[in-house]
């Protein structure tokens, strides 16, 4: 049951050296640009830039390969689903219909549909390198500090850092419970019927949840004893101060967002239309 998870990768690179808050702001700006725009030119440019930054970060593709495999599988399924449900979506958006060949009924292959699905996929490809980079180059405890820095209430920021802190613990506990239930002969594999599996899984879920509730009691008592939340502000051990490169990065990110919005919306539509 070894499932790999994405986590921080230690490296010496300009991307790692940036403060967590900078990376968070840049990432948020980046994903809003990718979400708002449907302009192929903008998306392609953003994609190329993100690949360049990925190279600079010195993170190897191999190290995030398992996640990439998941995403590619998802994108493939998603594209198939889009085509099955709406083979004429591209024609509807771009207003013309260049038929390549017919399959059956309303299912034909048009240039517009191919272009539209290419754009949908590209949109994901713009965000994925940025998101991956953000995750593998920002230390979890610095992440909480940076959330607080961009204006999130420090108590909420602290609960995010608690979540990061307890994911491995709870995963370990989950394994222990699962193994001890399996030792008692409870089958969790796919050999069981769905309804039986639900019942068997609940023999893990119940103890896991009850022990977590107990953990909440213990941790909150400990924090209460240490006077958590008494002051309006809080300092963070792993906070990085803003340096020149941080300001430069943020300015560049804002300029990129503005530029991509101007290019996208100058003709009054989210979509870049090469068919007219």
């Amino acid at each position: 049951m070894a499932v790999e998870m994405l986590s921080y990768i230690e490296r010496k690179s300009p991307v790692h050296a940036l403060s967590g808050a900078t990376k968070l702001i840049a990432f948020l700006i980046w994903s809003s640009a990718a979400m708002l725009s449907y302009d192929t030119r903008v998306l392609l440019a953003l994609f190329v830039i993100s690949i360049v930054i990925f190279k600079i970060s010195q993170v190897k593709i191999r190290e995030v390969g398992f996640v990439l495999a998941f995403i590619l599988a998802f994108l493939l399924l998603n594209n198939v689903a889009i085509y099955i449900f709406s083979p004429q979506e591209g024609v509807k958006i771009y207003g013309t219909s260049h038929i390549l060949f017919e399959i059956v009924g309303r299912y034909n292959v048009t240039l517009e549909q191919l272009f539209y699905q290419f754009n949908v996929t590209l949109k994901y490809f713009v965000v994925i390198p940025a998101a991956l980079l953000f995750i593998v180059t920002t230390h979890p405890s610095e992440f909480a500090a940076s959330l607080n820095k961009i204006g999130v209430n420090y108590k909420i920021a602290y609960s995010v850092s608690l979540a990061f802190r307890y994911i491995p613990d709870i995963q370990r506990e989950f394994r222990t419970i699962a193994q001890s239930q399996q030792a008692r002969g409870i089958d969790l594999s796919r050999n069981e019927k769905v309804w039986n599996r639900v019942k068997n899984v609940s023999t893990i879920v119940f103890p896991l949840i009850l022990s977590s509730l107990e953990r909440i009691d213990v941790v909150s008592n400990a924090m209460e004893l240490r006077g958590f939340g008494k002051n309006k502000k809080r300092s963070w051990y792993s906070e990085k101060t803003f340096k020149r490169q941080d300001y430069i990065t943020i300015i560049i990110a804002v300029l990129l967002l503005a530029l991509s919005l101007i290019i996208t919306f100058q003709d009054g539509s989210r979509f870049y239309n090469p068919f007219i």
Binding site: V67, I71, I82, K155, Y158, A163, V198, I216
Partner: protein, 184 residues
């Protein structure tokens, strides 16, 4: 509003709750046979936490838990669906006071209240909000996202209805009953 509602217990509940949510979504999803649709026990847990710790904890566990799950598993976040988790957690949490699970009593009336509320919230969330956000953000075909939303909605509704109700009943049994003392 933040000052009064964000007790230390709520903060810890959000943190550890989000961690449990992540683990449940990653490891305890039972495939139904339909591709890409799982029985997500994490939503039953979300409902439990919302009822026990209130709307803010429920909403934040949904938000943080779902975001982290997406991030750890996929490397990117589907904000449209994350928003629905926040929405579901928050609005189920609004009945926390009515149900008052700490009293240790979770009888027929409360079970019905809980299920009516979760049904309304989840139908609004998965059938309407998630698809609309998908269309706005990703411009995906309407009939595709509405079908996806409906399938996810039905499964989550059943999961919360069955496992969530069982969890709440189990949790209520661990609390001391407020009406267990009898005058002699």
């Amino acid at each position: 509003m933040w000052k009064n509602t964000l007790s230390i217990k709520t903060i810890v509940a959000i943190g550890i709750g989000a961690a449990v949510f992540v683990i449940l979504s990653r490891f305890v999803a039972i495939p139904t046979g339909i591709p890409n649709t799982n029985i997500q026990t994490s939503y039953a847990f979300l409902a439990l936490m919302a009822v026990v710790f209130g709307p803010i904890a429920g909403g934040m566990i949904g938000l943080i838990g779902h975001t982290l799950t997406d991030v750890i598993a996929w490397g990117s976040v589907w904000w449209s669906w994350v928003f629905v988790s926040l929405f579901v957690g928050f609005f189920i949490g609004l009945v926390a006071n009515r149900i008052n699970i700490e009293s240790g009593i979770f009888g027929k009336n409360k079970i019905i209240t809980f299920n009516i509320v979760q049904a309304i919230v989840q139908i609004a969330g998965w059938f309407i909000i998630a698809p609309i956000l998908d269309i706005l953000i990703y411009a995906e075909p309407a009939n595709k996202v509405f079908t996806q939303g409906a399938v996810a909605g039905i499964f989550n509704f059943i999961t919360v209805g069955v496992i969530g109700t069982l969890l709440l009943t189990g949790y209520a049994k661990t609390r001391g009953k407020s009406d267990s003392l009898v005058k002699e």
